[in-house]
């Protein structure tokens, strides 16, 4: 006589309501989700040309100026002339941000207590190039041991007009 077995049917989960909910929720969340996060760069506008501010402060010998020109980027000290010579030529894509960042890092090592810099641009420089240069001056990745550390170089950036080259 064959053994009597209980005939088992697989349990049916009632998941229709759950699937309904998910099907509605997934497109909704997809439409709401933000994939690009926005941030801001704060500016300190240059003080109105005021002779008292322009005076040389012996405690702060450096007045870093990064001048973005059409074909190259100059890194100057307002009181002491060029900090790098010749200036950094542009790449095909725009300003050579990597070389600039290395230069700025070297300057920061020399003047660790300085936070101020001016980025001066010529009239036809696109906004994108200006922001890339500001980014390189503001902060960068430094190698410390095995790790890359994001450090501030000159976070107080003001923006201004580039001095006109005399012919």
């Amino acid at each position: 006589m064959p053994a009597r077995r209980l005939k088992k049917t697989p349990a049916h989960l009632e998941i229709t309501a759950f699937i309904n909910l998910i099907v509605v929720l997934v497109p909704f969340l997809l439409s709401v989700a933000v994939f690009t996060h926005l941030a801001v760069i704060d500016l300190s506008l240059p003080a109105q040309s005021n002779e008292q501010i322009q005076k040389l402060d012996p405690d702060k010998p450096l007045k870093l100026e990064v001048i973005v020109r059409k074909g190259w980027v100059e890194v100057n000290d307002k009181h002491g002339g060029r900090l790098i010579d010749p200036p950094i030529p542009n790449l095909v894509t725009g300003p050579d941000v990597k070389t600039l960042s290395a230069t700025i890092e070297a300057i920061k090592l020399k003047y660790p207590q300085h936070d101020d810099a001016s980025v001066l641009a010529e009239n036809d420089i696109p906004y994108d190039a200006l922001v890339q240069v500001m980014d390189a001056v503001r902060a960068g990745h430094q190698v410390q041991g095995k790790e890359l550390v994001f450090t501030d170089y000159f976070p107080n950036i003001s923006v201004g007009d580039a001095p006109v080259i005399r012919q």
Partner: protein
């Protein structure tokens, strides 16, 4: 045709009643559940709604945007908040650094009273959302106009980028 035995009849009845469709949805639900958690964690409160017409430049800045007055400079128009106030071509044509219609719009915004005390510090800030292709000349005009209208704290809106 031979009549069915009672056992056969029973089997047939049973198979007729079993009409539940047995779909294997477990993996689908797995994926959806994961997707929902991922999307839920991604839904952040954005204080700046990014405009489609503006291609923002990328930056490594991590500073979160604040709720300030927004000046949007697209390739063709200048907007304060969501109102078009000036034309880029007109603004570039002005020999002066001042964009008069923008100044007028900013003056209206500046004249608004701040109701809550803690917002007072932010009321004189302006965030400029500029297209990445606008020339510095235009940006300068916008900044000068903002400064003349009393908005001296300027921030640039950028798209966050993570890799060095």
């Amino acid at each position: 045709m031979k009549p069915l035995t009672p056992l056969q009849r029973r089997k047939e009845r049973k198979s007729r009643n079993e009409n539940a469709l047995d779909m294997n949805l477990v993996s689908l639900i797995d994926v959806f559940t994961l997707l929902i958690f991922f999307l839920m964690s991604n839904v952040g409160v954005e204080t700046l709604a990014s405009a489609r017409a503006v291609q923002l430049p990328e930056s490594m800045s991590q500073k979160a945007p604040k709720e300030t007055l927004l000046v949007v400079v697209t390739a063709n128009e200048i907007l304060v908040g969501s109102n078009v106030v000036a034309n880029v071509a007109d603004a570039l044509a002005v020999p002066d650094d001042m964009i008069q219609p923008l100044k007028a719009a900013l003056d209206v915004e500046a004249a608004r009273e701040v109701i809550r005390k803690e917002n007072e510090a932010d009321s004189k800030r302006v965030t400029i959302m500029g297209d990445k292709d606008i020339p510095y000349r235009l940006l300068k005009k916008v900044m000068v106009t903002a400064a003349r209208a009393g908005y001296s704290d300027v921030s640039f809106a950028v798209r966050q980028r993570f890799e060095p």
